[in-house]
Symmetry: D3
Subunit: 306 residues, 6 copies
């Protein structure tokens, strides 16, 4: 079977040979910024915006990618083009950028970029199985005991690959339920974000989500806010606390792969009446229309075929 | 010229071919724990203790290395043996362990270790040039504006490779002086640690260093405390603040490669009279005796030869 | 069957008739301070110290008990005497004081004690079944996501009955394991206390427990520290964090009913090798000698008889 | 004289016999949630909303009331009906719900509801004397030194009876002035709430009150915001600090019994010119119209009759 | 050359003789509140508003100025009138109020105002040289490592002369660049204020500045917000963090002397493309129109003449 | 009557003419560091140590006094000598240093010392009346609602004259009692310091005082610790909270003028039995012996003569 092609610092290589030195700062220091988008019907979603945010991450981390955003876009489109033929007609794929500061020599100053950045761009098949059932049944949202890294330590808006804190927090949530999805709190106990997504609730018809003062400014998060505005659903960005989630009518997560993942339990309690709520459904429907593809249906088709 | 050999998950490979998949959790998530020790006169320093701490990191991060600490020690000794012949008689080397949770598949649950951990063990030539001059002239210690990641987000005692926060903090310190060494504060404004070392001061004859409530429990830190005890120098672990460093008689860092790095300036002010102080010198002398090697002399010899 | 006698504000009444007005500040405001001790072999343990601490709580909460500590002691002894005959020879009992500010009238100033305090003193059969198995198998210690009430809100050393925060935190721990025992963190993420006990760990032969800056100054906690001193076990009161528990050799709780409850799991990880450790055993043994009764044996006898 | 009837867990009893076991979790643990509303002209005010909020408290505290909200409403109406005849024509009454988790057995797991919840529903005569003078003269608002319990310890929106922290804070305020009304700050020093009410200020014509991130979402608070909207008074929910109160033109509290209590002094300083301000008066006037009763007049009539 | 006249507590004196006792609370305790405005074309700017804010500071600090705001205004106008003749036609001047609590006797209670406040009112020539180049080239904004004094310690809105914390923070910023302008963060790591001004950014066409919860409610800050409203530029007051400044399109400071000071670098990174941005220019242009004077031109004329 | 002589920047002037420019940074910015000692029997107490600490303040604030510590000592002795003749035989005096950064020009960079520091050295008659009664009756210690400035904003160990936060906190304490002495808490609610002194308590025979992590490292504080050591009284520096003071057996303040000021009430509650305790008396007695003067007697003699 033909392999996917991966771009690494100027070269296209088959996925199985996509390897980097163990002395790369990606491995040695987690010194990597990243973006992830996906295709809908084989068309990349908001790719320009993702690349624009990638360049914000470059700026703040002072990584020099040594190419312009336009070039980065062009390369990305080439990577996608090289792999489109490998996807089935109903399937879609991730498009991921990982860019590290390049080689890190032991004992050298890690803040100085010694040479070329390591640019990794790849696609991966969208495996939607983990979320397929959540569109109808909802998932279990759980707050871990650890707290999100505060902005004055590392701003969550720098989309990066130093993710150990998130992985450990997710593990804590999964102590409660192996299928739990984390709702990480910040050091003040306010709701921040999921390990890889943003969190919304609906209360008395109003859509609410934390401000970006303590979480990633997710592009999917912005889509949900934009769709709400278009649908006439009032939406606010504000401080939220576990009490808000526990007493909400609806709760859902947003992220690139699944768009919207409803949560019907929170820390063991039912959210609302324990079913996916009407505003969540309207937003998911509008999202499907926006991208021209039945989002839940695609995942459920994968489930059926698996 | 012959290459160093690196151990990666069961195989010895030449350094130039030491590569891992870009889909490894080391790259995708910074999900790697680590240890670094060095040789003194070609003999590894406190290797057992480093491996013991590595297994603490495994435990807390729930990474399964799939081998015992004894096996890990044996492999490490083999790696060192394979590379000893490549070192000059006056030179020494790093011994580094990086162990990730193994492959990370996009969209899969990152908290589940899907297969084998990726075990990377390598040596690297000790490049002591960055520190050679500091043994006599001292370095410039500078506090960055960002704060250390708090323990309730990710405990600093988990020696890990999700280091972006440290790299960015070090960059901030280097805005003040390109050769500055960071003194990172915690979220309360107390002194925590250097990006890769611990911090000590001497005030009125008493050696002081932060407790491990906000910093790595460095093995070199422990050596300094042990040597002080042996030399009859009173030593305390306590809360320290920038005021303490600004008014100290002596300041130094400890870390594996350089053992002790005196600081003679702090945020642009002289530390004491701006020279390396007597207690710092006594500790460095005792350390050299402990390891049977003139620590500063080795670095200065590298400098002379460079 | 004969009923236990309960003291309520000057009268002895049978337990089934021990009732207070729903307008009492105990019910209306949780405005109650409390002490709990137990008997060992029918002899009350440190009763004077408990009453002394009760009077500290009176002072800080400005509740006027309208009797001296000596009188309170005398009444307590009378309550015990009235109920001793109801205990089997191998059994023991709780001795509990609950004292509220008395009647609270809706709309009245709750800070003014309108009349007599409501003094409730009762014994209850020690049901040791919940802990019987933990002496040998250890319990599962789990950190909830909520944080202990900080001292600047309500000092944990005021032993009081406004305990909802503790109950909810315990519920969160039990989401992980229905038999979990909570390890509540403070707002800085440091280990504070269990919902009704203190926490200790052993690391490299040193016994450690948090200072009372964020937890109850438990009398059992003090017994453990005193026994350690007598046994020559080094003991320190210091900041502890989840990392310390996760990497400890031994962990246990202390509280009045069970004295010492070993924990052999922490957040799903084994503590040490997952068995009750030697220092825990020595302390429990010394405690049994101190009180002249096989503490674990008593619980296990209850278990056998149940 | 005929007594008021109280509902306790299925039975109507005369007030003087309204008693619960001292082993109830209400007494043993302050494990009680609550609501308080009042009548205006013998008609209950927003009773459905209060019961709705009570059920939110049940949910978050995982207390099972073992009856539906509709049944709870019906019972409450019955309690009111049973007591209406005892009120004078110009008088009104409190309607209070206190619901605990039921019996708490010493040593048993407090998180498990062992049997029936203890449901207490009662009315009490509205004693408006404490506030009668404040409608015209204003009260003295004072900030205590203790801080409100933070949301990550116990969310203020859970209306509960573990109120010791509030009682002690109120005592601190009364050290300054025996008639002081507390303005409790949160742990960041921002204005939170009164021991039993919410706080508003008027500055340059804008009505301001803290968001519910650090205080009870008072129903009276919502009435004030709704009336302001109806009257065209701009209103914002925002962070407030003591400086805002010290420099405000008007300050007032809201709560069920008094609706609006103007404050004309703050920490010993005059608020504005030291008289009750025009916006406060307009809101109180509108509130009186809303409920069809001269709110201040009713209190002043009580005063005159006393 | 004729000297400027200064007002000190009832007398006009030449500037060179404007002296106060070293026992004044201004010297002994920094117990001074202050205001600073300037003239534009010899006309004082928002003098009434400055005096109104001065009286807010009097109120909060309980300093009794012993004269009304109207009298203070009249005196200030007299001081200005006395000095107008000394200014060149193109020049302008500061108008500064410093009012201390008066004499402080060693050992006496500093909270009791012993006699007359010390009222100092003076003008000073506007030296615009420090800012002249920034209108076109922009300055370098740098975050110091120290944090702003929190509101619960001393509210930044009390415009006062206990400014050591600000001076030391400014020094830290100048370690990075001798011409740096400080961007002081609060204790949570959020952007607060400059040592003597407020901070704005422009992102995607929206003007943003911190709320006054952590900074001075600058009158120039309000001018900028008012001008934005008039120009149809959307503006929000919100939490800002260093990430926001690092990724902003434009950044500028506002303060009395310079009105708007563009920043084109932030912590060594370019702001936007490193030039003064279009919205900054529009606001400065509108400000010039508001005050009838080319603000940048005046500074540049000084530069040319110097 | 002859006047005291004051030293100002090189000149001795009579006290009534001791004045500085209103443009001095002392007035403009509170940019002054300070020391205060006193004489006992006309002999200065620990003058060298005070000057040593003054030079630490110079270092941290980067004020250049332009003379050595030896010269500063010599000048100080001259000032004292010039004024000794004006003291009665039983009287003593303050010796105060105030040193500012010198002239501050409006608009100029305040971090640059433009010229000479302004050195003010003066003596003042010790007015001991405020404390005379406290030696026998004790004072009333009260916690204000504001919090001490945290170290990351301005370290309390920099003895400085930007004291507005302290003055306002003292005012808050005096709302409770016009004679109250403040016990200022830090932002975590821990006991920090008095506006001009340190705080001690005695509990179960152990002397306790906060560490210097949140308060001035008072020289009188050190004397108390040294005397305790000499007297065999165990003493610890640790975190203290209001609960500790409320339940202490004894409480006292230390500061230069009064040495020890017992507190017999705390927030309206009696400390211990409300009398000055035995350890307080022993320490005061030892202090009197150390300085060769009956400290309380001197104050009481002043009282008798007044």
């Amino acid at each position: 079977m033909e392999e996917r092609q991966v771009y690494i610092s100027g070269k296209m290589v088959p996925e199985s040979q996509a390897r980097i030195s163990i002395f790369d700062s990606a491995v040695m220091l987690g010194d990597t910024v990243t973006e992830s988008t996906r295709t809908f019907g084989h068309v990349p979603f908001k790719l320009e915006e993702h690349i624009e945010r990638l360049y914000k991450s470059f700026k703040v981390t002072r990584i020099d990618p040594q190419c312009t955003a336009d070039t980065m876009l062009k390369i990305t489109q080439d990577v996608l083009a090289a792999n489109l033929g490998l996807m089935g007609p109903g399937d879609d794929c991730w498009i991921v950028h990982n860019v590290s500061r390049g080689l890190a020599i032991a004992g050298a100053d890690p803040t100085v970029q010694l040479g070329s950045a390591t640019v990794m761009i790849f696609t991966q098949a969208m495996n939607l199985l983990p979320w397929a059932d959540y569109y109808t049944g909802g998932c279990h949202a759980v707050t871990p005991m650890s707290r999100a890294v505060p902005s004055q330590s590392l701003d969550a808006r720098i989309k990066n690959r130093s993710r150990m804190a998130y992985t450990l927090a997710e593990m804590e949530a999964k102590l409660v339920d192996p299928l739990a999805q984390s709702v990480i709190l910040d050091v003040h106990g306010n709701v921040a974000e999921n390990k890889g997504g943003n969190i919304f609730l609906v209360s008395d018809g109003v859509l609410k989500t934390p401000t970006t003062a303590n979480c990633l400014a997710g592009l999917s998060r912005q889509v949900a806010l934009d769709l709400a505005r278009d649908l006439g659903i009032p939406a606010v960005e504000t401080i939220l606390q576990p009490y808000d989630l526990a007493t909400a009518d609806e709760v859902f997560f947003t992220s690139t792969p699944y768009c919207i993942m409803p949560a019907t339990r929170f820390n063991g309690m039912l959210v609302g009446d324990g079913t996916v709520g009407p505003i969540t459904k309207r937003l998911l429907q509008a999202w499907s229309e926006l991208v021209g593809l039945d989002i839940a249906g695609q995942a459920q088709a994968q489930r059926a075929a698996s």
